[in-house]
Symmetry: D2
Subunit: 218 residues, 4 copies
């Protein structure tokens, strides 16, 4: 009997802001149980709620004991897979979450650092995605809503688990969602799933990130 | 032996502006020979050249004798299927065309009207696309390059053929193209083909357009 | 006693869409009575209403007998002085006008051409504005609301008056308006007034437009 | 003889990226020596160079001993005064700086925190600006170039000086710059100066920030 594979904890969210579907969960659940880069994927749906999502994440991290944590979230209006460079210790909710909470300028975790940089190899992931024809970019802000909240919490939890690394990717609307948002970009579920596989395989097999410029002037 | 089906002349362009592929031709050729809404589709590739594209279009119109003319062109940076409301009698080329010509403020066709409105049912097409989950919008400008040139020429030629109707749809980059254009939206070929089928079926079966607001303040 | 100067009819609109002010009227009225390029400016406020604005424009054209007609309108979201290349014979109102009318796909003037190109020297105006440090651009669509309506009507009326020329310029929000629209660009009244003077002086003194590329691919 | 006023150290940059002027220095120098909110303003021009700007900032902080540090920088493409919420410990230069250096994924200051939040009352500043008609917004990223570099360094230095607070504001192009960037937003120097005065007065007189939502979903 072999050694069990190391685990990837891959999370998506339930729908929010009036949408019927959340593309992050649709993509993430398609990868549940898959073997990628020598790891086994465990997919988890989180509620778009500040408090409950954090509780659920904590218990899943204890249970799954992942070496890689990747959060995925919907960014309506963005056009490409958007690899977050960092997450910040801040909640500033433009709209109430799915439980009705709307925190303003509160920390995700009290007495924790202002920010964490992603510990996944974001430049190598960017290069692999582009090389395989998947539109991708580096983002310097995951916002101030539940996505950033979970991105921050993942990085915080990973920082306390030896060998664990974490990161976050924002994804566009699905075409069927964009059909209700005039002018909004979209990406199909198949394209997102393919992109997440490439990103995870690169993360799993790259220990040291590439030196590749992807900065912004402002 | 039955009556031959009425024809749809469906055109796409060859690559330009340094791209290796033009998504309009990729989508259009996938529909060649297809029966849609009681019509038979004839797909035609046009060069991204002001002069040659017009000559080729004229001869194809004579040969195919279409009742529906639909031009399709790449609009890098747009996010949705973009149904053009009109085309204008103007060439103002920001970059040289594939033959090196760069006309500035010259007419497409001398002594012809300043513009033609699309004679396809653009609002019905918009509604059908959205209802079937394909992101789509009405556009009030097809630009001033070869796409508008062909859109105008199609509408001009159709205006002289009893029973013929014409229109133009701009489409986003393919994902593999957008992978080289940071931040640019994209749409898969399959999604575009599905959208063109819906648009053509609606055009073929709708004689009178819907009254549906799709205006812009400016 | 000298010959009276030829006239410029310069129009702005009253506030709409919930704004307290319309920057077009604020700029236009500052130029009333001014002598520019050998012409005398007559400023006129039009209501943001399809029907009434057209009636008022017709009577002002009869009374003022202008040789130059320039309409100015607010384009919330645009960042620069936006010189319209053409206007189209279409009303498609995204919101009701100030009289509650919301026409969809109706002509501005029945049995008139689909569009008119501006008869002012738009490229020379663009070059003069940029040379004097005023941000400006050529636009290929004046939209489908009351601005395009008046732009079209001006071009239609000018086409029937020997020697008369017409055009339209869209302008950004004032800073005080943009302060209520997160992320929206603005331009100060002084900057807009300065730009309109340059544009009008250029129009008054240029009989033949410059050949200057200002096209868009789509 | 009275007690000398507490000091504000206000910095702008020299031109970069081919521009002839940097609006940040034009605005900042207009405020040199001014008394605002019981403080005296000392304006300082920094070079758009990673290494030299940091050296110059350090020595100026020692010399001026400011209680408020506000950095100002050009953000070509942004439309409003953009109050930065945080700065990150990262250099990722899209273009070389004015000394030819182009660091990629290096820290601003080794062994320092990943990020600092602004210690100026950014929400109160936002509210004051909007209330007085100056277009303003909160930004969650100061980029990864020299602006973020100085913003981070200011926050780092202020964190070590009891009573000192720091922040950063990005500003749009001047109109004369935007005239060379088709479609780019701009703000006049007078408007920026007025905005900086309001921001500094609010910072100087507000000890505890307002609780005011200004978040983004992503």
């Amino acid at each position: 009997m072999g050694t069990p594979l190391p685990r990837i904890l891959l999370t998506g969210f339930d729908p929010f802001a009036g949408e019927a579907v959340n593309p992050s969960w649709e993509a993430v659940r398609a990868l549940h149980g898959r073997r990628i880069g020598g790891h086994r994927v465990a997919a988890l749906q989180l509620p778009t709620e500040f408090a409950a999502s954090l509780r659920l994440l904590r218990s899943a991290v204890r249970e799954v004991a992942p070496t890689i944590l990747l959060g995925v979230g919907q960014a309506g209006g963005r056009a490409q897979l958007s690899i977050e460079r960092l997450a910040i210790n801040l909640q500033d909710a433009r709209i109430p979450d799915n439980a009705g909470a709307q925190p303003i300028d509160e920390p995700v975790i009290a007495d924790a650092p202002a920010a964490y940089f992603s510990t996944l190899p974001i430049k190598a992931m960017l290069a692999a995605l582009r090389a395989q024809g998947v539109p991708a970019e580096i983002s310097n802000s995951a916002g101030t809503y539940v996505c950033n909240h979970i991105a921050y919490a993942m990085l915080h939890l990973a920082s306390r688990r030896p060998g664990a690394r974490a990161g976050f990717i924002h994804i566009p609307f699905l075409p069927a969602q964009a059909a209700h948002h005039p002018g909004a970009p979209s990406m199909t579920q198949a394209e997102v799933v393919r992109g997440l596989e490439i990103a995870l395989r690169t993360a799993a097999t790259t220990r040291r990130d590439r030196r590749l410029g992807a900065g912004t002037l402002d």
